[in-house]
Amino acid sequence: MLNMVACYKWVVDEADIRINQDLSVDMSKAQGKISEYDKNAIEAAVQAAKAAGARAVGLTFGNEKSKPSLKDALSRGLEEGYWVHGDEADTADAVVTAKVLAEAIKRIGNIGLVFCAEGAADTYARQTAPRLGALLDLPVITSAKEISIDGNTVTVTRKLDDCVETVSAEFPAIIAVLPEANVPDIPGLKAVMAASKKPVTEWRAADLITDATPLSWVTSVKGYETNRKNIVFAEGDAAERVKQLVAALRKEGVL
């Protein structure tokens, strides 16, 4: 049976990131989550598997903390999870990540389509799908808004900056989906229960690639500096507050 592979990333939830006064960043209390955009990739793989009578599977590469992602991913309609783990994930750039995923995709084998998001919610590097295309020498379709499948042919509507394109390719192919490609369901209790019983294949990153040396690295991370007045009008009733706001906006010269 053909495999429809959804690649996803377990990322730090940006809502839990604290930025200190000096703009230094505190992620110590942050929880992990599946990158929001990758939920669209998972849903696209599930829908494609239904349309093609294929099997939808999930693939992720992360450090040891990314294990809980499997249960979440598998509750979204995937039949099997592939978890590549290792500390290499902490220093991996897009080159290393794509090499690990490409090798895992080769091992999964019998590929129909591989789905990625356009970018991950943390780094938004926007590279994985085209890099997988290069490494696996497969056709790539990015900016996918609508996807339809007929036999072994996938037809995609792409939303570009100035036009909408319809393109088609034969399996196997790599597809990067836009957030508007679908609306992922929130998994119900039954799906969450069933997820823990689904099979997960584990590989260590070192089993897949011998050299995980990145070619680019992050030298510093700091909070984006916002210089806003943060004045909240709290005195008096609503009419009084509005009066103060309008006066302030006139003083700013924007009314």
Partner: protein
């Protein structure tokens, strides 16, 4: 021939990137698929190659361009940050097996390496990165200024296309909404609004100050109350108005990314903990159904 390769299908952006590349003192080669652009790009000081091949999609030439870059010994690739540009850039980087940084907000070539800054976590953080050796970066419009230089040469370049992705149809986008990026004032509706018909109340406010109406992603993509061109945020419009007023907008980081270049930011929300207050100059904690008509009335009485 070492040097820098530049590409963008947006002529103005290509001119900006070429002008920056020329300013580094390195030889600059610009690629175009549009013969009409060749002269314009050459006048910025680049040697222009007009690509001829069997596909109408620039993305189809990633592998062939990677080969061209290796043959010419090019050290740096600069590509305009559009949907097509990002796709082609990552394809080239994949075939060259080299690092890439997308949508950089700062870049500097230092010896054989490139250092850059870019936004991560939806714009919450700024990350500084070093890319070693040959690398690819994508850059948005407005970072560099176009400058005229002694014109470079124009030649044509035959390349093999990847024809496995077939173009079936292409339609220009019919914009349903207004161009928010050009608006001077914007009133933005968020998910705090209960009903679609309440948009009228916010339209009245917008009219009273001569503002355009914008919205958050949820209003456009989930509730479909306004066209997708009207949503503001990292995956929608990025705006730079004089005045932005967020009504019932919680202020998620992805939305704030799209508004934080505004001169003055105002938040109206009944939840005093709404993150938008932290990104705002002025705020009123209160029920929009009480506050918005009062603002409209106060402005009409000015």
């Amino acid at each position: 021939m070492a040097g820098i390769l530049v590409y963008s299908e947006q002529t103005g952006l290509a001119e900006e990137l070429i002008s920056y590349a020329v300013s580094t003192g390195k030889a600059v080669t610009a690629i175009t698929f549009n013969e009409e652009d060749a002269g314009i790009l050459a006048s910025c000081g680049a040697d222009v190659c007009v690509v001829k091949g069997a596909s109408d999609m620039p993305e189809a030439y990633g592998k062939a361009l990677a080969g061209f870059i290796e043959d010419k010994g090019i050290e740096q690739v600069l590509i305009g940050a559009t949907a097509r540009g990002r796709n082609l850039a990552a394809s080239i980087a994949g075939y060259l097996d080299c690092p890439m940084a997308s949508d950089v907000s700062y870049l500097q070539i230092v010896g054989p390496d490139l250092i850059c800054q870019r936004m991560t976590y939806g714009g919450l953080l700024v990350s500084s990165e070093t890319l070693s050796g040959i690398s690819v970066v994508t850059v948005g419009p407005g970072m560099f200024e176009k400058q005229e230089k002694a014109a470079g040469t124009i030649t044509s370049l035959q390349l093999d296309a990847d024809n496995r992705v077939k173009l079936v149809a292409r339609e220009p986008v019919v914009k349903q909404g207004v161009d928010l990026t050009a608006a001077d004032k914007i009133v933005c509706v968020g998910m705090g609004m209960d009903k679609e018909e309440d948009l009228e109340m916010v339209r009245q406010l917008a009219q009273s100050i001569g503002a355009e109406l914008g919205c958050t992603r949820g209003i456009a993509e989930e509730r479909h109350w306004l066209p997708p061109e009207q949503y503001i945020g990292i995956s929608g419009q990025v705006i730079k108005p004089q005045l932005y007023i967020g009504i019932g907008v919680s202020g998620q980081v992805q939305h704030v990314y799209g508004v934080r270049e505004a001169k003055v930011i105002v938040a109206v929300n009944n939840d005093e903990k709404a993150p938008l207050f932290k990104s705002a100059d002025y705020g009123i904690v209160g029920d929009m159904y009480e506050v918005v008509p009062l603002i409209t009335e106060a402005i009409r009485n000015l």
